[in-house]
């Protein structure tokens, strides 16, 4: 199946440094299928106009394309209505929106904000800023050896003082799936709101935000086949209703006088300025593409790749894998290190064999520090277009890294 899928991704069909290209960095950004590129071209060749602002055919069309994406996203993540879907440029903007609009307005001195030590900086630095500005306490949920937040942490850290809990569903470093349903329940039991970072889960598994009962959820289109420049903030209507706007400008207002402004209703209230309709067109196409494959199949493809990779890595005595090895507990991300070789050297050497992996601290410094690997890790991450040949190329490349740095002959 993935071999068939791969044909839809022209970028993968190239040689890098004289080798077959092996792309293993989909957790950073995914490649785009022809269908998505065509949706974007189609938009610009036939329908491009500023939406919401014109009473002419193309403007109606572009409004339709844009608003239809809201419906498509709503259905894809199980939101209740379109007002709950706000378009942003990426997950980072969504968290900053939450931090500025909710955090800065509803957090008071002495309140507590709880996140996990496994957060990406985009769900971490904004809360540090809120905590500092408001004199609140930023508390961390820690992980067990498998990389999973424990029941005790949930029970102990989330207290009556907690006002916001914001945690990642799937770690972008370890790929571990966190018990977010329990965390959300606990947050609600103490009267806190619960936000979730689904940037690394929504591209890889079926998500239902209503069933999870999250107050807000955040993700980026570019990590799920869509173009760069579009992301989503899901928020429960009652939450979004009480939040003031973030970006002020065109299209998010109702009336403006010289000294006063009344704001538009949801979702427009949070969408100031000309929106990325192209990105929306691409996102619709990306979701359709994923729906056609089926999220079950997406999961299965990744499961098989992860199982095989873990097995093969285990056979390499000089490799240490971090976090759980149980594929049921993790998504398509594996972090590891090669004994005696710095991750950056591993990446450079693999690159010379056409194998693209991500190394470093993955925008998650506190987690890497917690794991005791401040120099970072090597991370491979899979998506639907990866095949067993990619796993093979990775393993062969890893054997070579050792040779290049003087462990054994070249």
């Amino acid at each position: 199946m993935n071999k068939e899928i791969k044909k839809d991704f022209p970028i993968l069909d190239q040689e890098i440094h004289g080798h077959r290209f092996t792309y293993l960095d989909s957790a950073a950004t995914t490649q785009k299928p022809i269908a998505v590129l065509e949706a974007v071209n189609d938009y610009y060749k036939n329908y491009n106009a500023n939406p919401h602002r014109g009473a002419y055919y193309l403007s109606e069309k572009s409004t339709e394309i844009y608003e239809n994406t809201r419906t498509v996203v709503k259905e894809f993540i199980g939101a209740k209505n379109e007002k709950e879907i706000i378009f942003v440029k990426n997950a980072t903007e969504a968290f900053n929106l939450l931090a500025h609009s909710y955090g800065m307005n509803f957090i008071k001195e002495g309140d507590e904000i709880v996140i996990s030590v496994a957060e990406h900086h985009s769900n971490l630095v904004p809360w540090q800023q809120v905590a500092k500005a408001k004199g609140a306490l930023l508390k961390y949920l820690y992980l067990d050896e498998e990389g999973i937040i424990t029941e005790e942490e949930i029970a102990n850290k989330i207290t009556n003082k907690t006002k916001i809990v914001s945690v990642t569903h799937v770690s972008n470093v370890l790929g571990t799936i966190q018990p977010i349903k329990k965390i959300i329940e606990k947050a609600h039991s103490v009267g806190a709101v619960a936000f979730i970072d689904i940037a690394q889960s929504v591209p890889h598994m079926k998500i239902d935000v209503s069933q999870l009962d999250a107050d807000a959820a955040v993700f980026s289109g570019h990590k799920m086949l869509a173009p760069m420049g579009i992301g989503v903030l899901y928020g429960k209507e009652e939450l979004l209703e009480k939040m003031p706007p973030f970006m002020c400008g065109g299209d998010m207002i109702e009336y403006v006088t010289e000294q006063d402004t009344t704001f538009a209703e949801l979702p427009n209230k949070f969408e100031g300025g000309t929106q990325n309709v192209e990105g929306a067109a691409g996102l619709t196409s990306a979701i359709q593409y994923l729906n056609e494959i089926g999220m079950d199949n997406v999961e299965q493809i990744e499961d098989e790749l992860v199982s095989e990779t873990l097995k093969r890595l285990e056979e390499l005595p000089f490799v240490t894998v971090y976090g759980t090895k149980d594929t049921k507990k993790k998504s398509g991300v594996i972090s590891f290190n090669v004994e005696g070789i710095h991750p950056h050297d591993v990446a450079s050497i693999l690159d010379s064999y056409g194998v693209a992996i991500r190394v470093g601290r993955h925008c998650a410094y506190p987690l890497l520090n917690y794991m005791g690997v401040n120099a970072g890790t090597c991370r491979v991450s899979f998506y639907i277009y990866n095949t067993m040949e990619d796993v093979e190329a990775l393993i062969e490349g890893l054997k070579n890294t050792r040779k290049w740095l003087g462990y054994g002959s070249k």
């Binding site: 710095h342 950056h344 050297d345 450079s348 970072g376 290049w404 740095l405």
Partner: protein, 143 residues
Amino acid sequence: MDLNSIYTEVIAEHNMSNHNKHHIEGADFIEKGHNPSCGDEIELELRIKNGIVEDGGFTGVGCAISQASTSIMIDLIRGKSVEEAKELIETFLGMIKREIKDEKELEVLEDAIALKNISNMPARVKCAVLAWHTLEESLKKAV
């Protein structure tokens, strides 16, 4: 890309040997250098007497390129005058930026010539120059 032109034996040896990786007794100049984007961190220690770099060493963490570059640099400047060391920094940075291409002019860099092709790996240039910028900062204070 020709990996042979970057991960040379010189780099591999310096990376593994650790012969300059230690504190320097009586060091007069201790300078920290770091690359936030990749996490390389070194602390360069120098003992400078009468304008001569008597000895040098370093501690810290980093990739093979940054570690080897630091070690090679220390071998190179040991026993040289501060002025000579400054000129070597200039020549090294000139080589990396491809402003100095004349092989003859580069000869003074000895083993450091091994890093000449690092510009083929733009993401790794910072690793190669970290030590040299750190030395530059240190020597500013040595005047």
